[in-house]
């Protein structure tokens, strides 16, 4: 049973995470540590490989010092 995968949604999140991470001058590894997730997950999220969860979106937003809403803006 395939999960719903929306390439636009996945790409929007990917671009926003990368944009805000670069703006804060963080490495993927540093962001992962701040967010409490695996470093390879940040890489997969930014490359648009995975359709990650609302909990991870909140964790990334907190680590980036922005709101979760900002990570879904397009």
């Amino acid at each position: 049973m395939p999960q719903l995968r929306d390439p636009f949604a996945i790409a929007t999140l990917a671009e926003n995470v990368r944009k805000h991470r670069i703006a804060k001058d963080l490495s993927q590894e540093a962001l992962a540590n701040f967010a409490g997730i695996e470093y390879s997950q940040v890489s997969r999220i930014e490359r648009g490989i995975i359709n990650t969860s609302v909990s991870v979106i909140f964790a990334l937003a907190k680590a980036l010092d922005i709101t979760p809403s900002q990570l879904l803006e397009f």
Copy 2:
């Protein structure tokens, strides 16, 4: 390997989906149909049982005629 689960993130999404669905006077089933997902998933999301994906958040937002960002506001 348990996924990251943030009860606050899950509850925030749950409340926002329910609030906007009721405001649009839609049943869970109608919302699910508009969003192209299973009706039981809407029930699980609103009850805070599952940690759903960015793609589902976008699909629900579109069906509710709001932005994905609005579903993550708190």
